[in-house]
């Protein structure tokens, strides 16, 4: 049974139409497995081979992959939530109530988006400290660390802009507290705050700006930098394998 399914999969993947789309056929040889990665526009960000040592759980705790996983969940649930959301006052709050009482699985959708967002912030920090304590930021990986810091900031901004969207008391006052900090910047503080909020207080303009930032600008920035981040792993010689075993591991 299993063998016939395998045969079927192989037949599909050797099919002329399939090959015209995916170029590489079945993965029954290392050449084919290499082509599978190398001839795919998304997968070719990654290297064809990886050091076995870097796949051990203790090496990375898979924190980078998990962070990316939360990002995928957030994109999917975020797009679904956009179908039920109007960035206007007070309709935004009414949409939260609709998610709660009208939309099928609306509460679950919002819960998953919310908890995944918290998880992503936590995982980004955890990933950063793990990378630091392994010394994986050292030459030649300096710039990928810098891109990682940019991604940390993008993640915080994504989470912060998303915080306002439910337009409840929690959202409104959290963003008020945060945007008041922006006005403490010397010389141009109030101008920065005005630019961020589209006004002098958190109002309908601020909601629209945060919506555009949260759903368009920041996700695009995140995708761009994630792509560079992954590609640099390959260019910088793969995931940092740790101290060389012959050095005695005395550090």
């Amino acid at each position: 049974m299993a063998k016939s399914i395998d045969n079927l999969v192989d037949q599909v993947r050797e099919n002329r139409v399939w090959r015209s789309i995916f170029r590489s056929g079945t993965g029954d040889s290392n050449l084919r497995r290499a082509l599978f990665v190398q001839q795919n526009v998304f997968l070719h960000l990654f290297s064809i081979k990886a050091r076995k040592r870097t796949l051990e759980f203790s090496a990375t705790w898979y924190l980078g992959a998990l962070t990316f996983g939360t990002f995928l969940i957030l994109v999917i649930t975020g797009i679904l939530l956009m179908l039920y959301y109007h960035p206007s006052v007070p309709q935004a709050y009414a949409d939260m109530k609709d998610l709660q009482f009208v939309v099928s699985s609306g509460v679950f959708l919002r819960n998953l988006h919310r908890w995944s967002a918290h998880a992503m912030v936590f995982l980004v920090f955890a990933h950063m400290f793990k990378v630091f304590y392994r010394g994986a930021y050292r030459t030649p990986r300096e710039f990928n660390w810098v891109i990682g810091v940019v991604l940390l900031l993008v993640t915080l901004l994504l989470s912060y802009t998303g915080y306002l969207l439910p337009w409840d008391q929690l959202a409104f006052w959290a963003v008020t507290v945060g945007s008041n900090i922006a006005s403490a910047v010397p010389l141009m503080g109030s101008k920065i705050r005005f630019l961020l909020l589209g006004g002098t207080a958190v109002n309908a303009n601020a909601l629209l700006r945060f919506y555009v930032l949260h759903c368009v600008i920041l996700p695009l920035a995140a995708i761009l930098f994630i792509a560079i981040h992954f590609w640099r792993i390959r260019k910088d010689g793969g995931i940092y394998p740790g101290e060389s075993p012959a050095e005695g591991g005395a550090k």
Partner: protein, 234 residues
Amino acid sequence: MSNPKDFVAVVDSDARRTPRRIAFITKRTSPQVRVKDEDRVMTYPEVFFRAAVAIQVLAIALVVTSLLWDAPLEGLADPMHTPNPAKAPWYFLGLQELLHYFPPVVAGVLIPGLVVMALIIIPYFNINVEAEGLWLRDKTRRLRIFGIVVVVFCIFLAVFDVWVALVPTVIVAAFMFLAAQTDPQAAQGFRHWLVRKPLSFWIMTWFLFELIVLTAIGTFFRGPGWSWVLPWRG
């Protein structure tokens, strides 16, 4: 020199690939130096499948969490009615805790700005690239420098009444000076591990500790008027 064996000799004997050669790799050499070629696996399927399994486990955990706990939703936003306390999202509560002690331009602009700058320059800054234990060389001078730095910083925190930041600083400094009092040759276990930690480890650990303590205090232990509360007496 405290450590007489500052290098290791490596012989790569794979004659098919390389002629026999001997490399001397000192402990301060860049990690780019590869001691020997090692086992590699194909990214597809090995790496992708492992990553997929990890992501699936996480997704299951998040789905279960979402089924059990609802995301908070309070009343409609009301600019006329300020909740007490008005709290930022949890990852900013460490900063909000500092806002309680310092003027906004310090706690809200200067400190986060310095943190981001410090994070960016980490890989370009020599103390982070050096992997040698802090106290293994030049110990007397370094003890004097770091002793003064820690004392001055603690006085600064005490003047501003920032006890919540002072306590983690003192604890990390205590471990740092415990490492200084440790004989690198004789020490065993934890102290053997401690004495080999470079300066970058101490700074980052201090930062991590402060981050956790301040965020936890802002999240769980602050109530109306930013006064102390106990989370279990809600």
